[in-house]
């Protein structure tokens, strides 16, 4: 009898399995989890903490908050940040002050670990939620974060 009960139990388990997939099949119209990606660009919203790439926000006067302290450069494990800076004389106070010339960010080396943003004392760099980072040439991945002609925001000190 074990022979036949084996067969019946076997068939029963097979039918149970088929009922699971069958149920999905019948509800396939609204159950699909596929994201039809390029079509849903408008509705696709990343979470606000999503780590897309590092950017440096500028205000309307083309001013940023980076003092050129290089803490992010030291914190970065992969050397994806390079800061070219200079000491320039502030015409008002007459003191020499560190100023960034270029804040270079290699997106191609970045592992999105977030240590640079943790390290930044003035919140000069933040995460952007940009997720389309593919480019045709690797050189596009090297970015200068501060806009040309931008300068340090007033009142930002280390």
């Amino acid at each position: 009898m074990g022979y036949f009960s084996n067969i019946f139990n076997g068939i029963k388990t097979l039918l149970t399995g088929m009922s699971v997939t069958g149920k999905v099949f019948l509800h396939s119209r609204k159950g699909a989890i596929t994201q039809q990606y390029p079509d849903n660009r408008e509705t696709l919203k990343m979470f606000e903490r999503f780590r897309g790439e590092v950017v440096m926000p500028h205000n309307e006067n083309n001013e940023h908050r980076c003092t050129g302290c290089q803490k992010c450069e030291i914190a970065c494990p992969n050397g994806s940040i390079e800061i070219i800076w200079d000491r320039k004389v502030n015409p008002e106070t007459g003191k020499k002050k560190k100023q960034i010339d270029k804040h270079i960010y290699h997106l191609g080396l970045c592992t999105m670990c977030g240590l640079c943003i943790e390290a930044c004392p003035t919140d000069a760099i933040v995460w952007a939620q940009n997720y389309e980072n593919a480019v045709y040439d690797r050189s596009y991945l090297t970015k200068v974060l501060n806009q040309p002609g931008s300068k340090l925001m007033d009142g930002v000190e280390e």
């Binding site: 388990t13 097979l14 149970t16 997939t21 903490r49 999503f50 780590r51 494990p77 999105m112 670990c113």
Partner: protein, 380 residues
């Protein structure tokens, strides 16, 4: 005089073939090896005579890289080891550093770390379940597993900012506080997933073909499990109680009650059932903690440059695959002198030859799926 076959396969030269045996190169590009693992099989017809893993195809020498990085920077490298339990890897490094600094982190941090750790474990097991089904030929399981894993990944993305390599832990706490939606979403997930595990069981576990494929295949005895240094569900399937969460509790795991999933059969089915059972246990741990996340800081301030006192520090944690050990030797500078990661996958793959010999090719694939191999974890 070398034969033609030996010339083609240089590493097979030291295998002594009998006349009826032949050599098959499984991997590094093969669907069942889950990455770039290469297995040198000696086969007699369909029957496996010898399995020899050839590793190192994605070895990045993380241990050497750690020696030139600061302690904060090490954490993100561990994301890239066992990427399916990246949070727990991060936690292991942070716990080691905190232990060395004798830093007591706030209770809030401990609880959040534990919840996210258990979510990571469920996510990892979901993916394993899907791939497990796919390895034995049931292709649909893959998508069902991913459907549920996706919910966890969304929770991670909202709170930690990334889906896989999260780097949410820093020595001394967490990078940010949890997102306001975290508790709500986690509860939703727990409720959702409770209806899905029975579905997993109905679709695959109970299936007669699956049972026949798994039962009595790849048997690992308890003594061998200990001797081979097996850990995690692989060892617990052989009745060896090795859950680090039980024996050496860390973070908030001493505050919760849960059962260690144990099976004594030691075959592939036992390893499978242990993982299914673990998902239930993880759910119960999350349920115990999610409502009582204590208020407080999400990190304690550390120096910008962390210098560990001279000495040796070892911390083990239970990742989804087993026992991960972090061994840091410090000479008192800002970089570690030597870091060793005792990865669970490395010990688990070493017993593959022991349990797969004598089975068929199909058995090998099924057994390997129950070992739940992540190749970067083996290669580090």
């Amino acid at each position: 005089m070398k034969t033609e076959a030996e010339k083609i396969a240089p590493t097979a030269t030291n295998i002594n073939f009998k006349s009826e045996e032949y050599f098959v190169n499984m991997g590094p590009q093969h669907p069942a090896t889950h990455g770039v693992l290469r297995l040198l099989l000696t086969i007699d017809g369909e029957i496996i005579k010898k399995v020899e893993p050839d590793l190192g195809y994605i070895h990045r020498s993380i241990e050497k890289m750690c020696e030139r990085n600061s302690y904060q920077q090490i954490v993100h490298l561990t994301d890239r080891m066992d990427y399916l339990s990246s949070h727990i890897n991060n936690e292991a490094v942070c716990l080691t550093v905190e232990k060395a600094l004798q830093l007591e982190v706030p209770d809030r941090v401990k609880v959040i770390r534990t919840i996210i750790g258990e979510l990571t474990r469920i996510a990892s097991h979901c993916l394993w379940w899907g791939v497990m089904g796919m390895d034995v030929g049931a292709l649909t399981t893959y998508f069902y597993g991913f459907r549920d894993r996706e919910m966890i990944n969304d929770i991670f993305e909202e709170t930690c900012g990334a889906r896989l390599t999260m780097n949410y832990n820093i020595p001394g706490g967490l990078m940010w506080d949890i997102h306001p939606n975290f508790v709500k979403r986690t509860k939703e997930f727990v409720a959702h997933f409770k209806t899905k595990i029975p579905e997993y069981d109905r679709l695959l576990t109970g299936n007669i073909i699956f049972q026949k494929r798994m039962k009595g295949v790849g048997i690992l005895s308890k003594e061998d499990a200990i001797s081979f240094g097996a850990s995690g569900p692989v060892a617990r399937g052989s009745g060896y109680s090795c859950d680090v969460r039980k024996h050496h509790p860390y973070s908030a795991l001493d505050k919760v009650t849960f059962n260690e999933a144990l099976k004594t059969e030691g075959d592939s089915l036992a390893r499978y059932q242990v993982r299914i059972q673990e998902m239930w246990e993880s759910l119960s741990i999350i349920e115990q903690l999610i409502d009582n996340i204590p208020e407080g800081d999400y990190k304690v301030a550390t120096n910008t440059v962390i210098k560990l006192p001279k000495g040796e520090y070892y911390q083990k944690v239970e990742t989804a695959r087993g026992e991960l050990g972090v061994y840091i030797v410090s000479t008192g500078t800002k970089n570690p002198y030597r870091v060793k990661f005792r990865s669970p996958g490395f010990s688990n793959i070493s017993l593959l030859n022991h349990i797969a010999v004598g089975g068929k090719i199909g058995d090998l694939v099924a057994t390997m799926a129950t070992l739940d191999i992540v190749v970067p974890d083996i290669d580090r």
